[in-house]
């Protein structure tokens, strides 16, 4: 089987183990957070958070409507880091406290 090509820009090859977080759509990123353990969320955060400033500088060389696929994946990975940051920085649990079974679904959001 051919090795899949790296999904992130080569400058961010160190984040490749977390490339499965590069999901399009807030709903998909939120579902992955709920399906993760705190250890998994912490590992993703610890790897990606220190690289966020570098990632934004890298992405800022492109116009948002002309992002190459690998850069788009990097952007979505950082959207996912935002989603994952809440449990890691504050709650210590994947779901916001006192939210029970309530849901709140994105029905319209930017394509990129």
């Amino acid at each position: 089987m051919p090795t899949p090509s790296p999904s992130l820009p080569t400058e961010f090859a160190d984040l490749e183990p977390y490339a499965d977080w590069a999901l399009q759509g807030e709903g998909a990123r939120y579902d992955k957070r709920l399906a993760s353990t705190m250890d998994e969320l912490q590992a993703f955060y610890d790897a990606a958070f220190p690289r966020m400033e570098a990632a934004m500088s890298y992405l800022d060389q492109y116009s948002l409507d002309a992002l190459p696929d690998d850069a788009k994946h990097l952007l979505w990975l950082y959207c996912a880091l935002i989603t994952a940051s809440f449990p890691v920085e504050v709650w210590r649990q994947p779901r916001v406290p006192d939210s029970g079974a309530s849901s709140f679904d994105a029905v319209l959001e930017p394509a990129v």
Partner: protein, 426 residues
């Protein structure tokens, strides 16, 4: 000691004497009979916001809206003359729903040159005229001019499209929205075209969610776990006081402080907020729109952060200091359920950095709303329970709640008086 000045009467509530200060009966939120009256007295008679003009960019652009509270579905369309029109979503032939995709109960949108019924291919122009009848010669003295789509009053305020289901309504939209609407005219809503929209089915009466978003008294408590702990402690010791409240007719507003965009002390906020320069109050480096309309920050307070306008019955507009806007809609589906919509509007981001700052504001809003929505179900079930607790004291920071329930009761009562005068036709 209040931190911010209150009216001369000593409280915001007493400034509006018709509201009273006595405990409030929440029967209006648990009674199926009262809800049926609200459908007639409120949702079938007042101006309802159903969308924005940017959703209809060109001739033939349309969307449908399900409005269960008014027992209808509507089509909103930009007609050939460029004007926006609205119609009941029903084919004049045999009553089939005219515009829908796959699932008749789901809303849809798109662009078309005419509306064609899925059932027998009767066609209507964008102006609602019946233009084609399949096998027309089979019908008896059928004049197509007698069968246009049933139109609905529609009007636009600051780019927000409203409809009114009462054909006898003579109050223009702008007059209905009153001083509070007038006060924010000119705000550049049309610049905020980057949209994130959320939807939730909530197990509570529609007014209970407005209650939750029309007061911030709950914020330091219910949302305590959202902030870093030192900040959270400080907020809850201080409690909450608004800068100002305003009430005009059935509508209300609360003006609030908000020192978080950017914060005075970076240690007040979470690490991700420091890097992205964003948070609950929005991206710290928002666009500069220059001078604000006079209705924004009415107290002219330097600590101002957000104004929340409650346009009766079910539309809220929140204008944040860093120049983004959040709207809320509450669409009742029964006396104890409703659909909540929360829509975030930003200027289109110029780069990934701005896109990520907006994403943080949006998902922070989502996490707060999840806590709010869940709490409402806890309130609804207990209000409905056999517990012998029927009235509830509302504080001065809850003056808009008092106003909302007072207004709903007044509309229902007026409707009952009117219908009592009208003899029922057999």
């Amino acid at each position: 000691m209040p931190h911010f000045t209150k009216p001369a009467e000593g409280s915001w509530t007493e400034h509006y004497p018709e509201l009273g200060t006595q405990p409030v009966d929440y029967q209006d939120s648990i009674s199926p009979e009262f809800y049926e009256l609200e459908r007639e007295a409120i949702f079938s008679r007042t101006w309802l916001n159903v969308g924005r003009i940017e959703q209809l960019p060109k001739v033939g652009s349309y969307f449908t809206k399900e409005i269960d509270a008014a027992r209808t579905s509507i089509i909103v369309v930009r007609a050939s003359d460029g004007e926006i029109r609205a119609f009941h979503n029903i084919c004049r032939h045999r009553g089939n729903k005219l515009v829908w995709q796959d699932y008749p109960g789901e809303e849809t949108s798109g662009t078309c040159r005419q509306f064609t019924c899925k059932y027998h291919a009767w066609r209507y122009s964008l102006e609602g005229d019946l233009t084609f009848v399949q096998q027309e010669s089979e019908f008896f003295d059928l004049d197509k001019a007698d069968y246009p789509l049933a139109s609905v009053q529609v009007d636009v305020w600051e780019g927000f499209i409203f409809v009114n289901f009462d054909p006898t309504n003579t109050t223009p939209l702008r007059e209905y929205l009153g001083e509070l609407g007038k006060g924010i005219e000119g705000y550049p809503f049309q610049e905020l075209t980057q949209v994130h929209k959320y939807r939730a089915e909530v197990g509570s009466n529609w007014k209970l969610f407005i209650d939750a978003f029309a007061e911030f008294y709950h914020a330091p408590v219910l949302h305590a776990k959202q902030a870093v702990s030192a900040e959270s402690r400080k907020l809850s010791e201080r409690g909450y006081e608004a800068l100002a409240y305003g009430i005009d007719g059935p509508h209300g507003m609360v003006s609030s402080w908000g020192g978080m965009a950017p914060p005075k002390d970076l240690n007040m906020v979470k690490p991700i907020e420091r890097v992205l320069r964003s948070g609950l109050f929005g991206p710290w480096d928002g666009p500069d729109f220059g001078e604000m309309p006079p209705g924004i920050n009415p107290a002219r307070n330097k600590a101002w952060g957000i104004d929340s306008f409650v346009f009766f019955p079910n539309f809220m507009v929140l204008v944040w200091k860093p120049n983004w806007v959040l709207t809320y809609h509450y669409w009742p589906t029964s006396y104890n359920t409703h659909i909540f919509e929360g829509t975030c509007y930003f200027v289109p981001p110029k780069n990934a950095r701005e896109r990520l700052a907006q994403e943080l504001a949006v998902v922070t809003f989502k996490e707060y709303a999840l806590q709010d929505g869940n709490t409402l179900e806890a309130t609804q079930t207990m209000l409905e329970s056999a517990t012998p607790v029927k009235t509830f004291p509302l504080g001065d920071q809850e003056v808009l709640l008092r106003q909302l329930h007072h207004t709903a009761r007044a509309y229902v009562s007026e409707y009952q008086q009117q219908t009592a005068k009208t003899p029922v036709k057999a």
